[in-house]
Structure formats: C-alpha cells, structure tokens
C-alpha cells in the first residue's frame, strides 16, 4: 500500500511540472502584451518599455518561468498586472467561494445520484427505474443555467426563501453564506447528479449480473442484502472516476452559474483576467485548477485502492 502511495505521489509531482511548463508556454504565445494593453493604444513606447521592465516582462522566458514556479512553491503567485495586488490574495478570496460551492454541489449530486442509481438498478425495468431514467435524461439534456433561472424564479422571486444572487461572505455567518450558495449548488448539482445516477445504475447492473451475486443469493442473502453487501462497493470504481472528473469541472466550470447568481468565484476571475490580459493571474488560476484536478485524481486513486484490494498489489 505504501508503495502504491509513493508511486502515485511521484507521478503527481511529474504531472505538475509538465503542466506548469505547458501552461506557461501557452499563455506566453497568446497574442497581446499586458503592458501595452494596460496603458492603452496612445501610450509612448518608452512608457510601455518602462512598465514592461517594472512587471519583469523584459526578462528571458526561462527566468520568468523559474521565478513564477519558484514563487508558487513559497506561496508567492506574483502581482496582478491590472490590480497591482498579490495574485495569491485574489485567488484565495475567490477560492473561499468556489471551493465550498464545488464541494456543496458535489455532495448534493452524490446524495441525489447514489440512491437514485441504486433504486433504478434494484428495480430494473419497473416504474421506479423508468422514472429515474426519464428524470436523468432530462437532467442531462437541460443546461444548468436554465435550472438556475428556474430556481431563482421559484425560490427567490415567488417564494422568497432565498436571495436571487450575491454572496454575503463567510463573515456574515456560516449559515447565511451557505444559504447564499444553496441555489447555485443545486443548479450545478442537478445535471451532474443525472450523469452520476446513470453511471451508478449501469455499473451496479453489471455487477448484479456477476457470478458472486448468485453465490451470495445461494448463501441465503435476500436480493436486497446481496445488492448492498456485494453489489454497491464493487460498482463504485467507475462511479469514483466520474466523481473525480465532476469535481474538477465544478471548481472551474461554474462560470455561467457564478454569472447568474453574481458570485465572486474563480470562474469569473479567470474570465476577467483573460479579457484584461492579466497573464500572471490567468497562469496562476489555471495552474491552481490543474493542481486541484491532479490532487483529486490522486485521491480517487487512493479511493480505488481502498475499495478494491486487487489494485493495492498491482500498483
């Protein structure tokens, strides 16, 4: 097991190094010079050159790459070209919205998907299954911003249970903040839950056809006991993979939902930074997201090994 973890950690570190290089190069070759963008089209060349020097843009690419990565290792993400504030602070502020939102949405999606998928598999071909499959078909087909608008219409405008948008900050109290994130989290979670429920159902159906389920029944387990004791855990492997992918999407892909609910999240930050050629912010946010995805995959790998003893040896 220890070897498994060490091996995964090594591959994790390697992935991060490669990713940082790729991100840096891609952002570098993108058109648009931050200094000329900031000063406008009428700026004097000398002024632009002076700003470039101040921002460190006149140094060699390698030097800037090393400076950037070295800084990140010590928590220094550089200074935003546009706002002249530390990037680390900007990201941290946004992360306090995006990370809880993503976790909240993921928890909701899992809470909806697991029972729905298990129910559908256990009642295959019967009304409960048909109902779940129909609902998930809709959930996959309808975009999440439409859900978001419907939720606002019903729960904020009609029923007035929630506010239609904005985020009071965690200083306003845990529950006030959580309440503000509830509608966005539901809007984000519904399509993910639909996908996850379908994966859970098909994965569980595959397992229920396995010989060892029949063995369990021959031992005297009821159909339900066989499903819970022998089916669900074996069905988790593909489900865990999807959960890992969904988390990465929820963290950065929430931009439309952030827009609908006026949430100051990472998605909006990256969108603004790109339009303003605030390259250092773009690089850092993207790097952070890559880090998050790789970390989640690492955790998913550990979860695989926890679920399936065969993987502990094979690694």
């Amino acid at each position: 097991m220890l070897r498994f973890v060490v091996k995964r950690l090594l591959s994790l570190a390697l992935s991060l190094i490669v990713a940082s290089g790729v991100i840096f190069l891609v952002v570098e070759v993108a058109p648009g010079d931050p200094a000329s963008f900031m000063l406008g089209i009428n700026a004097q060349p000398e002024t632009v050159a002076a700003l470039r020097a101040e921002l460190g843009l006149d140094q060699s690419r390698l030097a800037r790459y090393l400076q950037w990565t070295g800084g990140m290792l010590t928590g220094d993400f550089g200074t935003s070209y546009t706002y002249r504030t530390p990037v680390a602070q900007m990201i941290a502020d946004r992360l306090w919205v995006s990370l809880p939102l993503a976790l909240y949405a993921l928890a909701l999606s899992t809470l909806i998907a697991f029972p729905a998928g298990i129910l559908a598999a256990a009642r295959r071909g019967r009304p409960a299954d048909i109902g779940v499959m129909g609902a998930t078909q809709l959930g996959v087909a309808i975009p999440n911003f439409w859900f978001a608008m419907m939720l606002v219409l019903i729960f904020a405008i009609q029923l007035r249970w929630f506010s239609a948008g904005g985020f009071p900050g965690w200083d306003a109290g845990f529950f006030a903040a959580l309440k503000a994130l509830t509608l966005p989290a539901i809007a984000l979670a519904l399509p993910q839950a639909a996908i996850l429920a379908r994966i859970m159902r098909s994965s569980l159906l595959d397992i229920l056809g396995e010989d060892f389920i029949r063995t369990a029944r021959a031992k005297g387990l009821t159909a339900r006991q066989a499903l819970w004791r022998h089916g669900v855990r074996n069905a988790l492997i593909p489900v865990l993979t999807i959960i890992g992918l969904q988390f990465a999407f929820l963290l950065a892909g929430a931009i439309i939902i952030e827009q609908v609910f006026f949430l100051p999240g990472l998605g909006r930050l990256i969108f603004q930074s790109i339009t303003q050629r605030d390259l250092i912010v773009v690089e850092s946010v993207v790097m952070l997201l890559v880090f998050a995805v790789i970390m989640v995959n690492f955790l998913v790998d550990l979860a695989y090994a926890a679920v399936d003893p065969r993987l502990r040896l094979r690694a």
Binding site: R3, V6, K7, E210, D211, F212, R214, T215, A216, R217, A218, K219, G220, L221, T222, Q225, R229, H230, R233, N234, V307, D308, P309, R310, L313
Partner: protein, 537 residues
C-alpha cells in the same frame, strides 16, 4: 420420504418450455448425478431447486424438500433455507467469489446471515470449515482475498461457504469443469468425503460421464429438458436402455481413426528455448526478478505428425505456444519452422503464414458483423499475393466443403451456427491458406461430447487426407490420447516426458505423468467387452 423429491417439474422462460415434466429424487446421504449436454436443462433444474430460476420463469409441478414444497414457499422462507439447508457450488471458481471481500468474511457471511451463531463463534467455524476443505488457517488466514488464491483453492472456499452450516443437500453445478485434472480429482475426493462423513446428500451436475461414473450412486441422463434414463449408476451404464445414453457414452470414449501416416522430415524445431517474464519488484527501485515460464525446452515436430502438449494451467503451455507462433520473442534458444526462425528481430511473417491456430472459444473468436466467407478468408492477408475474385470464392467454398459445410454458408453470419459448426468454421479459416502446421489450443474443450467426437473425426480425416501437421494443446488427456501420435508432458516450464501416445498412456515413466493419468477420471469399459470378459471366465 426422499430428501429431495422433484415431481413432474415443468419450467418455461418467457413462455419457452425448458424443463418438461421432470421427476427425480435424491435420498439422504446419496450422490445423485445429473448429466447431459449443454442446453439439456441440468443447471436450470438446480437453480429451480434453489429458488433462483432466472426472471421470466414459470414453474409447474412440485419440488419437495424434506416434505415441504419449495415452489409454494415464500421468498423469505426460501432465503432461510438457502445456505442453511441447501448449499450450492458453482462451475466458475474464478468469478464465484466477491473480489473485494476477504475469504473469511465471505465464509462467515453464510453463518451470520442466518444468525446461526455469534460473530466470534462464526469466525471459529469459518476457520474450522476452511481447514475441513483443505485450506488450513495457518497457511490460508481469513484475511486472504480471492485474487491471492488459485482456481482450485477458490473452489474450496466456495465449498466451505456452501457447507459452513452443514446443509442437508449440496448442489454442485459442474464444480470441476474449470479445473485441472489433478485439482479436479482433489475436489471430487473432498465432495465425496463430505457426503460420507456428514451424511449430506449431493446433487452433482456434470457433462462428463467419467467424472460421475465412479462416484455417483444414481445417474439421471437429461436431454431437451427431460430425463431420458435414470437409475443406479452401475445399472444405467451397464444397460444403457436409452439410445441417447449410449450415444453419450460412446462419444465420451471416442477415438478418432488416425490411420497410419508417413512421418516426414522435421518441420518445427524447438531448441533449448527459455522464456522469462519480469515478476513483481521486491522493492520500489529494485530490479525485478525474472520468472522463467518456459525453461530450456527442446523438441521437434515432423511433417505429418500429430503431437499433443499437456500440462496443468500455469505450466507454460500457453507461453510456449505464443513463442512457437512467433507472437513473442524468447530469451534463449531458437524456434524454427522448416529451418527458418519464427522470430528474427521481429515476427517473421513469411513463417507465420505457414502456421495457423484454432482457439478454444467458438463464440468469442469471430467478429459477429462479418459474414462467414469474409471470416474464413482473413488469413489471406498474410499472403503476398492473395487470390481474388473467382479464385477467392473457390478457395472459400473448398475450405468450407473440407470441414463438412456447404459453400453457400459463406453468405451467412456467425450467429446462425452452433458451437460445433463454429469450430468447423475456425478450422476452415486455419486451412484456407494451406498451412504446414495447425495449432489447436484447447480447440474442443468447450464442446459437448458428441460434437467433440465429430470434430475430432474431422481433424483426423483432414490430417490423413492433406498430410497436415498438428500441435494439439489440451488439459484433457482423453482427447489428447484420441488424436495424437506423440505426447509432450509439461510441468513447471519443462518437458518432463516426450513419447509416442500409446506408450505414454500404457506405461507412463515420469511420476508426474503417472499422477496426471491417475487423476483423470475414466469410464468403465463398454458393456460388450465386459460381457465378453465375463463369458470367457
């Protein structure tokens, strides 16, 4: 009153009748065998008795167990009965166990699900019952996972689960079909011991008459969902009142007519061949220790010779076969066909087209979306100048005709053919480019006895008529005996005996060969010879 009394049981799945007014009884402490070909309804009889018939099943009649009609019993009561009163062992030990639970947990579950004893006592019983089936806790602690065990060991765990609560009836559905002969003999011995010592009844389902002939008290021969003949095993095998019983018996001991053949010059030559695989690393950066799967093996196969290769699973048969076919390089030694190496720096295509293989699975080895004509013409890709147009059609027709099929079958899809016909098509595919050597890799293992006998006859005819050379790989000694001139016995990567078939079977020299032969179940001689023997006394 019989322990199990199945009375005029009929079963239909979605309206299709499968079992037709079937009746049989099993007494306390008795071994009853149910035999017949695939599709005869043997396994369904077992599942119906367990109350685990597939969805869409409708049953009529009576299955009385200890006087209770199981068909009228509610599901809840059936669950109480399963595992406690009736245990079941399945065919495929590799998949019958949950891969993510320890063997201890799975054996204990039988006990705990019936609330038969508290957890600690259940643990002690699990250890006891695993020891009973030959897995002593010192070597096989409860914390083992199924993937850490061999097929035979897993089957022992399945048996342990089934007998943990000392059921009155054990149903075993082809319990040894997936196992080697030596493992099979051990598992059969174990089952016999359990019956004799615990007074348990055993309903044994098998397609192999030899397996049951020396262990079953009663024999029930099934065909198309009916029992065509039943009685004491010795009497059934002696009288064989029903022609079908006779056919099964004859097919089981069938010998193909190999005929006398001229054996020519050496064709395939294997010289001091060794094949290593990297084994698991001992430490993270340590050098992996190689595992020697084939160890300095040497032999020749001459033109026209039919050579068998036998051994248990894991002995290196498959590895050696892949090396002969030029699919993988070897670490030491050389393999040549007609003097040319099969592997230079890469696979030698000029040599590979002179060899063809027929695999075990007649269902998985064809692309279902291609017509038979295209399937059997596939090896033409190996030729530098494959026939086209009319010549191609004629070659396909001739190949089909040579395996007893019609040229018009080329326009049909593979799903239209039975298992035996598919194996004929596989042979046609091998024959079409007129190879020097055909490798049969367990090619008749998945077939029913009567179909198997036909395919063996076909192989013998083809080799006589076309002077073909065969390498015949099988774990089934009976089959190898019937179709080969010479046998190689392989053990732990080495060839331990290499002699003409008759000599080897009549007087095996190597202890391992002897143990293999001793483990293989045998049928009694046919009634005529027994009668003749008695008359001469």
């Amino acid at each position: 009153m019989s322990l199990l009394d199945i009375d005029t049981l009929s079963l239909a799945i979605f309206g299709k009748p499968i079992l037709k007014r079937l009746s049989l009884t099993v007494e306390e402490g008795e071994i009853a065998a149910l035999t017949g070909e695939s599709g005869s309804g043997k396994s369904l009889t077992a599942f119906a008795t367990m109350g685990l018939a597939p969805t869409g099943s409708r049953m009529q009649g009576r299955i009385a167990f200890g006087g209770t009609d199981l068909l009228r019993l509610p599901e809840r009561a059936m669950c109480d009965l399963r595992g406690r009163q009736i245990g079941m062992v399945f065919q495929e030990p590799m998949t019958a166990l949950n891969p993510v639970q320890t063997i201890g947990a799975q054996v204990m579950e039988t006990i705990l699900v019936h609330k038969a004893m508290p957890r600690e006592a259940a643990k002690a019983r699990a250890r006891e019952v695993l020891a009973r089936v030959g897995l002593p806790p010192a070597r096989f602690p409860l914390s083992r996972y199924p993937h850490q065990l061999s097929g035979g060991q897993r089957q022992r765990v399945v048996i342990a689960m089934a007998i943990a609560l000392r059921p009155r009836l054990l149903i075993a559905d082809e319990p040894t079909t997936a196992l080697d002969v030596t493992t099979q003999a051990q598992i059969l011995d174990l089952l016999k011991t359990l019956v004799r010592e615990d007074g348990m009844a055993l309903m044994m389902i098998t397609h192999d008459l030899a397996v049951v002939s020396d262990m079953a008290d009663t024999l029930h021969v099934m065909r198309h969902g009916e029992i065509v003949e039943a009685g004491r095993t010795a009497e059934v095998l002696r009288d064989m009142r029903h022609p079908y019983t006779r056919q099964l018996f004859d097919a089981s001991r069938h010998r193909a007519d190999l005929g006398a053949k001229d054996i020519g010059a050496p064709l395939l030559s294997v010289r001091n061949v060794s094949r290593d695989y990297p084994a698991a690393r001992k430490s993270l950066f340590g050098k992996p220790e190689p595992f020697r799967a084939v160890d300095t093996v040497s032999f020749d196969i001459r033109h026209g010779e039919r050579v068998g290769l036998v051994g248990e699973s894991g002995c290196g048969k498959s590895t050696l076969t892949r090396a002969i076919l030029g699919l993988e390089p070897v670490q030491e030694g050389q393999i040549t066909l007609g003097g040319e190496p099969v592997w230079t720096d890469r696979a030698n295509l000029a040599i590979r087209r002179r060899m063809q293989v027929v695999f075990q699975d007649p269902y998985g080895s064809f692309n279902p979306r291609h017509k038979v004509g295209r399937l059997i013409a596939e090896p033409f890709h190996l030729l530098p100048d494959p026939p086209r147009g009319g010549a191609r059609e004629r070659a396909i027709g001739a190949a089909l005709a040579s395996v007893g099929l019609a040229p018009k079958d080329a326009d049909r899809y593979i799903h239209a053919f039975s298992g035996g016909q598919r194996q004929r098509i596989a042979i046609a595919r091998a024959l079409i480019i007129k190879p020097d050597l055909i490798v049969f890799d367990e090619a008749v293992s998945a077939l029913d006895v009567r179909v198997r006998a036909q395919i063996l006859d076909l192989m013998a005819d083809l080799s006589r008529d076309h002077g073909l050379t065969y390498l015949f790989i099988s774990h089934d000694l009976g089959v190898v005996r019937s179709i080969t001139d010479r046998v190689l016995v392989m053990k732990a990567g080495r060839i331990v005996e290499d002699r003409p078939t008759k000599a080897l079977f009549d007087a095996p020299k190597h202890p391992y060969t002897r143990s293999l032969l001793a483990a293989a179940p045998t049928l009694p001689p046919p009634p005529e010879t027994r009668d003749a023997a008695q008359a001469s006394l």
